[in-house]
């Protein structure tokens, strides 16, 4: 068969394979967003499209309208998980996001189904969203996310779900959250209702370090210590200069956040501070970031 026709058939087949797990999520006024039937009775979507916690409904791919309950949400990673009773057993087939390469042809799907095509435009390392969440990997898309597409699947040429699309994590940039991360965050949201992040209870600002200390260009000076917070209990004082945490140097707040992932909550980690110019070692038991209201 003609190569273009084969490709066209493959793309249409990819849509047909993925579409039965694509749902409409009615959790805001006017335009619904898209969700993915992840596991039987579990739907994931983009957190920023969930504007109400009550009276949420989901329209399954077969047209059935089902009530949904918000099981958990994490604004930092823009993921929300809904429970839908009797959602059926047709769920998404996950692909291998580690195999993604720049230039791979991909499809974004919205409920309906509706389709948009393009390529992986850039891949990058772990990054921090402006909403404060750690994203495993940057997956930048060169395609149009049409209105209502946020929360829908990024699909590879074989119809497997390799990510969850969102326009809510960066202005003017279309991104996908890698499928392995969606699974991890969704599992934790289902367990706890929220996604935990390590917490020290400190307010800090970057300061320059004199070169002769040999401790790098910059560190963080403590300008606020939360009373009875994790750092306070470990003996951190106002005016301490944090130079290392959990065995690595910290030059800015991103370095600190990078060492306070969900897996560090409850762990005792070493910290090095300069106190009155003297190097002092402490051990901090990492707390869990308090949840914001709403």
């Amino acid at each position: 068969m003609d190569a273009l026709l084969s490709l066209s058939n493959d793309l249409a087949t990819a849509v047909e394979r993925a579409a039965p797990a694509v749902v409409a999520v009615h959790a805001r006024r006017r335009l619904p967003s898209t969700g993915i039937h992840w596991r039987p009775g579990i739907v994931v979507t983009a957190e920023h499209t969930v504007r109400t916690a009550e009276d949420i409904t989901v329209t399954m791919a077969d047209g059935r309208s089902m009530p949904a309950v918000l099981a958990g949400r994490d604004p930092g990673t823009d993921l929300a998980v809904l429970r839908v009773a009797d959602a059926g057993s047709v769920v998404a087939t996950p692909g291998d996001d580690a195999a993604l390469k720049v230039g791979h042809m991909v499809l974004a799907l919205g409920y309906g189904p509706r389709a948009s095509w393009g390529v992986i435009s850039a891949l990058g390392p772990r990054w921090r969203s402006w909403r404060g969440g750690d994203i495993d990997r940057l997956v930048r898309l060169d395609l149009v996310l049409y209105p209502g597409f946020s929360g829908g699947p990024l699909v590879d040429a074989a119809g497997r779900v390799v990510g969850l699309n969102t326009s809510g994590l960066a202005r003017e940039t279309r991104l996908a959250l890698p499928v392995t991360m969606v699974t991890r965050v969704a599992d934790e949201l289902l367990r706890k209702g929220h996604f935990s992040r390590g917490y020290l209870g400190l307010g800090m600002q970057p300061v320059r370090l004199p070169a002769q200390l040999g401790l790098g260009d910059s560190a963080l000076i403590v300008v606020m210590v939360e009373p009875s917070g994790p750092a306070a209990r470990a003996g951190v004082l106002l005016g301490d200069v944090l130079v290392a945490l959990d065995g690595g140097p910290v030059g800015d707040l991103d370095d600190v956040q990078a060492r306070l992932g969900s897996d560090r909550v409850g762990a005792e980690i070493p910290a090095v501070v300069l106190r009155g110019g003297v190097r002092t070692e402490l051990r901090i038991t990492v707390g869990e970031q308090p949840r914001r209201a709403g």
Binding site: L5, S8, G112, W117, Y146
Partner: protein, 191 residues
């Protein structure tokens, strides 16, 4: 390593582009004043005997047609259907290369489509995209169009014309399905 599929895809696409350019005409207003001779849009050679289909909003008055071989011919407006945005033009020519008309009802979401037209005055330019949704009265395609594409062909990966590009809505290409083209020609021209 040679590109197993990408090169044949590119070759097939350029072949289709040439075929579609051969059945796409320019529609020009030749009325009065500033619009004289201005490109109004595109059209599809529907039949070899000089029947050309375009959008009603492209063929508002007297127009002339620029054929793929650059001949410029005056066109007679044979029928117009504003509701479906279709118009039939007839030029005095025979033996034209005409479109193979596809079945717009058989389109699948995700299949590739190609558009040819005169976006912003670029004659017989190609755009590629895919079928976005099929649940509407019009075909929606994830494909970049510009003014001047109106009336030109939307074709599937076999090169069969499945629609006439008519509008851009929210960044999507919106095309009149070929099924409407058939119906229009049958009902209004009796054949």
């Amino acid at each position: 390593m040679s590109a197993v599929l990408a090169e044949p895809v590119a070759a097939a696409a350029s072949g289709l582009a040439a075929r579609l350019a051969g059945i796409t005409v320019e529609v020009r207003g030749h009325g009065h004043g500033s619009s004289a001779g201005a490109p109004a849009g595109a059209g599809v050679v529907w039949r070899a005997d000089g029947l050309i289909l375009t959008n009603a909003h492209v063929a508002r008055g007297a127009v002339s047609i620029v054929l793929p071989d650059r001949r410029v011919l005056p066109a007679r407006l044979a029928a117009r259907d504003v509701e479906h945005d279709l118009a039939a033009l007839v030029v005095d020519a025979t033996g034209l290369s005409s479109a193979e008309i596809g079945d717009s009802d058989a389109l699948r979401v995700g299949e590739l489509v190609l558009a040819v037209g005169n976006p912003l005055g670029v004659v017989r330019a190609l755009s590629a995209g895919l079928v976005h949704a099929t649940d509407r009265r019009f075909i929606q395609a994830d494909l970049r169009l510009a003014p001047g594409n109106s009336g030109g062909p939307l074709a599937d990966a076999r090169g069969r014309v499945v629609g006439l590009n008519a509008m851009i809505v929210g960044g999507l290409a919106v095309a009149v399905p070929s099924r409407e083209g058939w119906r229009f020609v049958q009902e209004r021209l009796g054949r």
